[in-house]
Amino acid sequence: MIQQTATPHQRSHLDGKIIKQIKAICGEKHVLTSKEDLICYGYDATNLEGPLDLVVFPGTAPEISEILKLANRNLFPVVPRGLGTGFTGGSVPVQGGVVLVLTRLNRILEIDEKNLIAVVEPGVVTGDFQKKVEALGFYYPPDPASQLYCTLGGNVAECAGGPRAVKYGVTKDYVLGLEVVLPTGEIINTGVRTMKGVVGYDLTKLFVGSEGTLGIITKIILRIIPMPEARQTLMVIFRKVEDAAIAVSKIISAKVVPSTLEFMDNASIQCVEDYLHLGLPRDAGALLLIEVDGDREILPKYIQKIEKIASELNPYQIKVAENAAEAETLMKARKGLSPATYRLNPTKIAEDITVPRDQIATFITEARKIAGERNLKIINFGHAGDGNIHTSLMIDGKNEEEKKRAAEAIEEIFRLTIRLGGTLSGEHGVGLTKAPYIDFELGPVEIEVMKKIKNVLDPNHILNPGKIFKA
């Protein structure tokens, strides 16, 4: 076991001297210490809160290096943060110290059209970057739901995914290289500016998805691809949830890879219907929202194939959008779902488990049983194309007894996921919320290897302590 140096009582509060030094490094106006400011940097989209002593907005990698060196000398935690939109508490401080916000590093440094790469700083908003490359006819596919208000740095640190992952993969499939400030202050460069590169260990992949525990990313070399010429959307409403799952498998084995294959179960359909009154059949077992993209000529062929597969399953309805406006109307069901869920109950425990695609139906049936036995409201929706299901328990967060039942259910759902050959997290990461469960999926030796890596890079455990591993 590693030495847990990162326990609260061993940490000294940041004293005035350290605060002064941080101000000297980054400039007084880029350091916040008032109680009100600290309240506003202790949470992320999990709605969890933690304590902190100072917020700093560094402007360069060398400044970050200086802060990390100072942290090692004085043993205070440093928690990197982008726009605080993570779903597992990755940027929530747990042991006080410094929250280091990367939003000042927000330049798109380069878009190299000849080599199809872009170089960006971590504070660039994902959606801004996408808009920029799309204007040039290129495409950066990873599309987490928060793309308009999350940063590329955060996406890399968590290895964010999104609906397009089914065809285009996730963030790690687009990161070619990084500039990283190590926890001990050295600034390193990993990876390449080329499509290939196998010299040495793949340090780039090590940092992608490391959740801010191994280093602070200060520059990202991204791969971009040509923009697909056209896209088309259709919605299929099934009588039984199993039929939707069969359709997913058949579409994939028919060698059609949709650019989006979103799934909503009956509870999700009811929920969104109560809210938006779209006219969806309330007794439908599930629906699929499918988007295909590519050259204009090939799309009708894809659509026909999918229609044929779906119609053999005796669905309620198949709706093909004839234009962008119609596509938008179909997508409304999926986009309106998130707000609609809160009509069931005020608190959402949202997981992002992923199972092999042919296990989706089994997972949903079993997960509903688990929730039902404990009298909990559950909805299942998500990226069926890649088996990534957002299974969500809707509870009353103020009801302690219900919270306990929900925790039990989540544990059972995680065990189920592993039994079916899946993973606890497809795209949100471990952070704080999944840390108690990582040994469901990882063996003791695997965990030990990871901890050794952590120890080598961050011997004093100053960087984002309390994350990923069980306390």
Partner: protein, 425 residues
């Protein structure tokens, strides 16, 4: 706000997803969590739970909000953050009292029937001493900077005489005509009486007789926005009283912000009060009102030559678009005018940055926010930008002047009135 939804419930509803960061104009400039709804809601929660106080800092963060409502409009979870922030300002005033300058302004000046007009009257006589006229512009510059007033700021003339001091009897039409009330508000009364005159002429052309009580006063929104509910109620009561004896079916309010407050704000100030509710039901604003007055089929006046057309863009006042969901009506009206070529700007519903007293407390920030609006206006290459909120007009005039853009700023009624003349000819 859902009537049954308490402030605590609004605050608890925020799941802190962070979406508001992508729509908040203040966050776009400051890039600090305390600037955006998620941060402000978090602070208010801490105050409610007793873990934070109504401190100076908190006051700053609460005031650093335009009240534009972009967060609430886009919140996936339906959190009415703008209303929560306003309510927190009021609680703050209740707990800590008003700042001295605001106390003087809301309680002693705005709240006084005689003092406010008298002060401004003196001002209108003396403005030449403090201010110098700006060529080509209907406005003034300070000869030297004052606190809250930057030297470069374009300050509108104080009218002489004020709109409400002008022959009120002349507005009364003939016996048997349709009657309508007119609530003018401070900006039109003291600064832009020509918009009041335009409104009167337009109503007269539609054969209305106008009820215009001279003792109407400020709508009360500035006080409400600063959390001074007491002053807001005093002013509201005065306006109710001013219109009471006229027994009118409808009262037209040309300024979008005054309109919003009379229509939506008054019933909230006096929950359950029947007279207030029926007063608020009578309140109408120009775009919906004049759209209803338009003939079903526009007269075939013949389309004017291209070079006689005025190229117009429209800026959505937050109080009209976000609070009242009125945004199609003004466009429908403008597009129906034969002499108007309508040009939509990129983000017509983005706040101009005025935000009432926000503009005075945070002038530089307010200007930065406006810069994006000016870029949008410039992008349309329109001859004029039209809107219906007096706050937006003051802000846009200041910005367009400092950028030397030459774009005219017109109130919707001015455009409609000009169109009605063209039609008559």
């Amino acid at each position: 706000m859902n009537e049954s939804e308490t402030l605590q419930e609004i605050a608890d509803k925020c799941v802190r997803c962070g979406l508001c960061q992508s729509v908040c104009p203040v966050f776009a400039e400051l890039e600090k969590e305390t600037a955006v709804a998620r941060g402000k809601v978090s602070l208010i929660r801490k105050v409610f739970s007793g873990d934070a106080e109504y401190s100076e800092k908190l006051s700053t963060h609460l005031l650093q909000c335009l009240g534009c409502g972009a967060c609430s409009e886009n919140c996936p979870n339906g959190v009415k953050a703008d209303e929560l922030i306003l309510a927190a300002r009021a609680l703050m005033v209740e707990k800590k009292g008003l700042s001295f300058p605001k106390w003087v302004i809301f309680r002693k000046i705005l709240g006084s029937v005689r003092l406010f007009p008298a002060l401004l009257k003196t001002g209108s006589l003396l403005q030449g001493l403090l201010l110098k006229k700006v060529p080509r512009e209907s406005g003034l510059h300070l000869r030297f900077s004052l606190p809250y007033l930057d030297k470069e700021r374009l300050i509108p003339f104080l009218a002489n005489p004020f709109f409400l001091d002008r022959d009120p009897k002349g507005r009364e039409g003939k016996e048997g005509q349709k009657r309508i009330g007119l609530f003018v508000g401070c900006s039109i009364n003291y600064l832009f009486p020509e918009i009041g005159e335009s409104t009167v002429r337009l109503l007269e052309r539609h054969s209305f007789s106008i009820g215009l009580p001279q003792n109407q006063s400020c709508c009360g929104l500035p006080a409400y926005g600063s959390g001074d509910l007491e002053a807001a109620r005093t002013l509201a009561r005065r306006n109710l009283e001013a219109f009471r004896s006229l027994s009118l079916g409808q009262i037209l309010v040309p300024c979008a912000s005054c309109f919003y407050f009379l229509k939506e704000g008054y019933p909230k100030l006096f929950p359950g009060d029947e007279e207030v509710r029926s007063f608020s039901e009578k309140i109408v604003e120009p775009s919906t009102f004049f759209l209803a007055q338009m003939p079903a089929k526009p007269q075939a006046a013949g389309s004017p030559d291209q070079d006689q057309k005025i190229r117009l863009t429209y800026h959505d006042p937050c109080h009209l678009r976000r609070s009242m969901k009125i945004f199609q009506e003004p466009r429908q009206l403008l597009k129906s005018l034969p002499h108007v070529e309508f040009l939509e700007m990129k983000q017509p519903n983005r706040c101009c940055g005025m935000g009432g007293s926000f503009n005075f407390i945070y002038y530089d920030l307010s200007k930065k926010i406006m810069d994006r609006k000016l870029d949008d206006i410039e992008g349309t290459t329109a001859d004029a930008v039209t809107t219906s909120c007096m706050g937006c007009m003051i802000q846009l005039k200041d910005g367009i002047h400092s950028r030397k853009m030459g774009t005219k700023v017109l109130h919707l009624v001015e455009v409609l009135e000009k169109a009605s003349i063209t039609n008559d000819q």
